[in-house]
Symmetry: D2
């Protein structure tokens, strides 16, 4: 005879707010793989998104208005939000007011003051927050960190070229601000994760005929540590490279998140490198970091681990973005 499965030792009711492609294809499959996570409700203003997502999560209630959801679902322990910066702020504020933990996609807010206000609220209410910077959790970056402790890296350079989107979005009335909050934010987060807070920022931009933008930036850190970043939305496909250098000259290169090259340690000689590649049949969302970021967030709720970057930690990233913004305008 069949028996209904007993509840897990630990479980939490979660609402997924914003059910677009990223939420449905990248986040949802990871959520359903975390033990203890019960997707209690989903929410999207768009009926089609809501319906497509609902078909994948049997038993979850559906909402079109997150205010109603937050008001009604009393058992909620956490929300996972993937919407627009202004909506992120609003939802996060409402959820934190209720004591609900918040995982929010980047950008978590449209401005630094707004982000600072939210971070203050999280501190006050003792809320666990996390901004969805998946690159920190990507398999390639984790392998890099195993080889060179970013805390001791002398150099950390990133080259990040996407194929868009371009131009103004999110009602920011600024293509440059849109660019910085949607593209540059990934790179700045990673650099700050690796090297800490910079002491100086320098940047210049090239504007393309096709509306695209390319920013060349340089961040200086205490003790002369340096980061060179190139960020563009002018490519025809997404390309990502990063290089860390240890103080001994060991170079670790992430090539498109698909391989990690380590140059300078091989016992076989100078022309031998070591290279990591994922398993050919690697499946799931570990490579891109979507699994890891959500696992870390819920582990922090369940057992008190670290969830990073919190809204408070994100402020440093916004300040660098503001500085780049000022320089390239």
């Amino acid at each position: 005879m069949a028996t209904m499965q007993r509840s897990d030792p630990w479980s939490i009711d979660v609402a997924l707010i914003g059910c677009g492609d990223h939420a449905r294809l990248d986040l949802l499959p990871c959520l359903t793989q975390i033990e203890g996570v019960r997707i209690d409700a989903i929410c999207d203003t768009d009926e089609k998104h809501l319906s497509a997502t609902s078909a994948l999560v049997r038993g979850a209630l559906t909402y079109q208005d997150y205010r109603v959801l937050l008001a009604e679902r009393e058992s909620l322990g956490a929300i996972v939000v993937a919407a627009t910066p202004q909506v992120h702020s609003d939802i996060a504020g409402l959820a934190m007011a209720r004591g609900v933990h918040v995982f929010v996609e980047k950008p978590p807010a449209a401005s630094t003051p707004e982000l600072t206000r939210l971070a203050g609220m999280a501190a006050e209410k003792n809320i666990i927050t996390k901004v969805g910077h998946n690159l920190r959790h990507s398999a390639a970056y984790l392998e890099l960190c195993n080889v060179v402790d970013p805390g001791t890296a002398t150099i950390f350079d990133v080259r990040y070229i996407t194929s868009g989107p371009r131009g103004d979005r999110w009602n920011l009335n600024s293509p440059i601000r849109s660019f910085l909050l949607s593209h540059a934010i990934h790179v700045v987060d990673l650099v700050l994760h690796a090297l800490g807070e910079p002491v100086a920022v320098s940047a210049n931009a090239c504007h393309f005929e096709n509306g695209g933008l390319l920013v060349s930036g340089r961040l200086s850190f205490p003790n002369g540590r340096l980061s060179t970043i190139v960020i563009g939305d002018v490519g025809t496909s997404f390309q990502f490279d990063a290089w860390a250098m240890s103080s001994e000259g060991l170079i670790v290169h992430i090539d498109s998140l698909r391989s990690v090259w380590c140059k300078g340690l091989s016992i076989k000689g100078r022309r031998w490198s070591e290279v990591w590649t994922p398993r050919p049949l690697e499946a799931g969302h570990k490579l891109a970091g979507y699994a890891g970021e959500l696992e870390e967030f819920f582990a922090a709720i369940a057992s008190g681990g670290r969830s990073s970057p919190s809204l408070a930690e994100e402020i440093a990233t916004y300040k660098v973005i503001d500085e780049i913004h000022a320089q390239i305008q």
Copy 2:
């Protein structure tokens, strides 16, 4: 106010039988992404597997005995099975007797006569069957097929090296048979998918001190088409390469399922190739083919498309395996 989501236009109750790592990590996330699929029940003799899987599928009933499950779950439309060859046969037989469609992992049976018996039963009962040969659905192989129609390929070579398992398993009392049914079966399926049924098979084996095996085989096809295969369980990690050649000499090379090289078509000149790589942030199970194989199976049930290889089509693969077996003993 929240509303429970209406049922989809099409839906089917599915049981997942066998909840080991492959089922839980590779198949389950794909099942939960197919609209209309309702995981009604899960089954495993191992309590731990059952419990871990249950935590991810809210509402599914749990069973430890598939006979009980098949007897009790009257609404079942299909089963997805990932167990051992003898159990595959047994479950498939019981399910088909009830009119339930069957997706079964390879190897679907321990012997060719047994497979033939099952295929006959499927034909008689008009059951949709599919053996889980995910490589056919891998992104890299699909890209290859876009470039060279395998039906017109002159050559299709595969090099497949795994790191194990080695030795006897599944109570087959034969390390060679175990090797052929767990490793060679992938390669033979792909070659037959590309070139059809061979007219002659030739093989030789090298036995390693560490218990490993490497088989070098050659399959001849009508019109002189040729396939050279090298299959081993002696590596330290999984490596997969395949080469197809068109009658004009165009070579398409799958390198570790992570890139596809096309040599001979570039307008830029002879030393230019074209190469496909997945998106750096590609997430999910499309690369490995786990998503595609299950989608095809359920699409065939929902709307009558093709589900391949069926148990009947798998017989040709078993015959080649038997021939290799006879030659390398």
Copy 3:
């Protein structure tokens, strides 16, 4: 009966001055492959270098003092010089005074005023000069230029990491100047060749514990074109990458001078790139550009083509180096 071969339609007597490893292994084999070039004399203060080189060039006279060589070898049409910056200036001056054409390795002079003086002399005497910037002639860079006309490129970035030498050399009494004249000069030449003369230069440096240096620089060009350069002597092996971007967003990437990736043009789709690789059995000095730079120089002498960069063109490169020098001190 044997016959002595008639002299070529065109021939020139050449002296190779400086017979160290670079001259003997990189330049000499190219010189002996250029029709019409007769190596009349070789010169090195080091007996061992002279003797080793002499064994490879039957019939060439040997000198230890280039002043004596230049005084005695009246038939000389050109010299190929590979020594130190101060010696380069001195030899070039003496040769040009005699009307002898000059191919000189970089750096051609220790300072910008000295270089300017030499360039003036070349103009006055109508001498053909060329500085040995082999990267301009490397197979990879030529392929890049075939795909994106550097004259229309919007972006040209270079990442250049060597394993040394480090520290002060050539009696320059400045490790930074030594770094700039031996390493950065390659990169600056290539960027200026691609984008022309910059309107602004910005740079910062990171000093390594092991004495190494890494410079992060940014050059701005008319119409907002931009170049980001990273140059270091802190690696464990030589690594070279360059990226050019057309105004349409086509990206061409030179990966270690061994492959050229072209992203954004493939008719097969967005995830397909085109990639150039040299022939597996490519032999000789074409890949590195040593053959091409010497061929261009002698072709200019023989038939009046262009030989670039001349000493005069090199001045722009020195000015950028001076600007970087000022900023990172």
Copy 4:
């Protein structure tokens, strides 16, 4: 004052017979880099080849008839021959009769009996001979040998695809024989160098509409060692891959002679490989093995080292070719 260089401690007069592209571009630059080698004479029936080569070797006498050359140049110590198989035999016979050492390009003879006759003559006259199998001396293969001693390899597979030439040549009246003596000979030599003489050979061929040929072969060696070879002239560019496997399952893969991958030894874990790549600025003929094969030959003459494969050692290669020939006809 200039002084003529004293003669080396050791020197030898050499004739280059056959001055086609391979001789002029691949062999000659290596000859001029070997200390002690004096190119005394060159020979080609084609005036154009002779003249182009003569312009590069000042002082060498030129001949159009190798019989005259061999009769007249009394000081000759060795010849380097690059012509056709029948001419190879004839020249080698004449030279050995005079006691002159012989480096001959492959194929050294049109048939096994002819090769056996020449090998007997070399033994009788105590002549140092070497067949120009450059792949043995390629940088990539030497790196492979450093990692896996081919003498202990269990498996050695080669995949060798060229873009031609195709069809009958050298008056052999057999496209298959032409294919085997011009293409397969490289692969068979390498396999025999790695694994020794085979105990059994099995082969099959696919004939292409465009006149091309692809051979799939399998060689068995004592103790169950195995080699799978795929050789074709049907590509659009040259591609070369080789895999050696140690008895412990370490795999070393030569990828297009441009990188060597070593899988299974890294201390970093299973997904880390070690990879060798040449220096980006690697110049000269070391990569392709042209420098090494000639250096070995002259070192054997100068100081009695090993020169391999000799004509006698080449016989085993011809026997395998004959066996493949018999099977694919």
